[in-house]
Amino acid sequence: MSEITLIEAVALALQHAMEENPDVVVLGEDVAVNGGVFRASNGLYEQFGDERVMDTPLAENMIAGLAIGMAAEGLRPVAEFQFMGFIYPAMEQIVSHAARLRNRTRGRLNCPLVLRAPFGAGIHAPEHHSESTEALFAHIPGLRVVVPSSPARAYGLLLAAIADPDPVLFLEPKRIYRLVKEEFTPNREPLPLDVCFTLREGSNVTLVSWGASMVETLQAAEQLAAREVSAEVIDVATVSPLDMTTILESVAKTGRCVIVHEAARSGGIGAEIAAQIGEFCLLDLLAPVQRVTGYDTVVPLAKMEHLYLPQVENIVAAAINAVEFE
């Protein structure tokens, strides 16, 4: 047992998956000798060589298409997109092929690939390096979208994503790549996909979040506890398909819900969660479901980034609002 950061957990998962299964290959821009711009593939090139750790030419559309071809042949490609803001060139390949190859061929060909991308704001990076557009991908049937929010979950969920027989978009909250450390044993065991993780039990309000915002959400829960508000905290983890069972059960119990995400509010995944709570828990609701989110704007450049991101006090305020609602 040792303290592991989230980015180290990602690297460990890649290493262990490659050790366990010779079909796992890693590809992307700067993933080999350089070990990835965030070092997610640090050491893999040295350990596995250029046949399994491939620097590609600079073309995201190509990376996705290449990975699809490999996957259809039975390899398990794990492709890195340097930042989520550079995944859009691959959109056609993701929407029209990765998510559909199995369905199109009635199961003859399938697409067991993982597309990894660091996402989210808060590291003072240039434009396009702060995206949180997971909702674009969550709306695509046939694809899974997974977002870890701790080193242990990054490790276990990435192992699961690689083992999964279908395409997974694996979004890594880069703001907490090195911010959050955790002691755990990287025991080569995957965690389950398609389920939420309840990080804290509570009875007055349910806080739902994923990715980097889990940090502020957990802090908010602490502060709420100090104010005698007992918050249940749920990490959605797989944001598509959604495990609404866990969320609905919690809201049925607490009667209140605050959803926290960094992405732009309109059409974010928070909307889907809120809509389903309204649909299935209407009579249990003691207050309107609230969303604490990024604004419906382009993420500002570094100087104003902090004004964009949801803060602990916004979450606390929303929860208090919910509790005091009548």
Binding site: E73, R106, R108, P241
Partner: protein, 362 residues
């Protein structure tokens, strides 16, 4: 100071003139007559299939369909040169190649009739289904070729796209990675002079499409695509080279789209019938038949038998197609994931109930 630092050229290959006569002596390793006869048979069958499919569409028994009329020698030429374990990643107009690969006429009709099972090829399990989004298959082919290469399989991969497709970035990206990774991959560009209504000249200022390979540092050649001998020969050479580790290759196959773009198109809106008629002079079927008559003693009786056989095979396929029972409605969900996520279980039940309701109402 100005100095020349690199030099390139594009060659063109063809063996038969428009009347099927040899332009010069054939190379020793030209396809044997049995192969050519087999190719001719597939060309005939493909042409009959095309006409029949259009007819089925017109009578509401098939969806939108893209004819390959006039392009039979291209699609069958390269497919004849493939080995069974090579992989094909076709575009949507390669009915002949699919036939050659073992994709049945019935499967092809199912697909164009709007049934996903048409892509569950029983005899070409590793070939890709048709790609509708233009040029995307070229990228998949690089992945397939990478897998084949990594595993040390002695096979090659073929991908096919149109002249219009060469304008899409995917094509350039695929050539580029194929070049730098020396992938065992043959690109066939079926240059049929049109991308729906856009003529070749409006698609690119490049004198040839073969020269697009220069951008990626890979070898290429332009081939008379209406000459089955040349198509088979050039493809076979490229594939042998690729299987031997010689890297990628591009063939620009010069041909002409004799029909409408698809059954949803009316080509008279944008091109003269005269232009089209002129191209009948270069009909690939007539040409290779003339060759067979001269060099293989192909007789009228042979031709009649062949036509009758193909017609019978086709009609059987149509009958099979029309007799296929519909998919159950939940098939919509059942192939989306290896295992349907719990989140969609209710929807799956809903579509079953809805279909049940419809049946009850009928």
């Amino acid at each position: 100071m100005r100095e020349r630092i690199a030099q390139f050229e594009v060659e063109r290959i063809g063996f038969l003139n428009a009347s099927g006569q040899l332009l010069e002596e054939l190379p020793d390793d030209i396809a044997d007559l049995e192969t050519i006869k087999q190719g001719y048979r597939l060309m005939v069958l493909t042409r009959l299939f095309d006409a029949r499919a259009i007819n089925l569409q017109r009578t509401g028994q098939l969806g939108t369909f893209p004819s390959s009329l006039g392009q039979e020698a291209v699609t069958i030429g390269f497919a004849l040169a493939m080995q069974k374990n090579d992989r094909l990643l076709p575009s949507y107009r390669e009915h002949g190649a699919l036939l050659c690969r073992g994709v049945t006429l019935c499967e092809q009709l199912l697909y164009w009739g709007g049934d996903e099972r048409g892509s569950d090829y029983q005899h070409a399990r590793k070939d890709f289904p048709l790609a509708v989004p233009i040029a995307t298959q070229c990228l998949h082919a690089t992945g397939v070729a990478t897998a084949v290469k990594l595993r040390g399989e002695p096979q090659a991969v073929v991908t096919v796209c149109g002249d219009g497709a060469t304008s899409k970035g995917d094509f350039a990206e695929a050539l580029n990675v194929a070049g730098v990774w020396q992938l065992p991959l043959l690109f066939i560009v079926t240059n049929n002079q049109w991308a729906i209504s856009v003529p070749r000249a409006a698609q690119s200022h490049a004198e040839t499409l073969a020269q697009k390979a220069i951008a990626a540092g890979i070898a290429s050649v332009q081939v008379d695509g209406n000459d089955l001998l040349a198509m088979e020969y050039a493809s076979r050479q490229a594939l042998e080279r690729a299987r031997a580790g010689g890297g990628s290759f591009l063939i620009e196959a010069m041909t002409y789209r004799m029909g409408d773009h698809t059954t949803a198109d009316d080509a008279r809106r944008y091109r003269d019938d005269d232009e089209v008629s002129g191209h009948w002079q270069a009909d690939p079927l007539a040409r290779i038949r003339a060759y067979l008559v001269e060099h293989a003693g192909w007789k009228k009786a042979d031709e009649e038998t062949l036509q009758a056989d193909c017609q019978a095979e086709l009609e059987q396929a149509v009958a099979d197609y029309l007799a296929v029972a519909p998919q159950p409605p939940e098939a919509m969900f059942d192939y989306l994931y290896a295992e349907l996520p719990q989140a969609y279980a209710a929807q799956r039940q809903q579509v079953i109930d809805r279909r049940g309701q419809e049946v009850a109402d009928e």
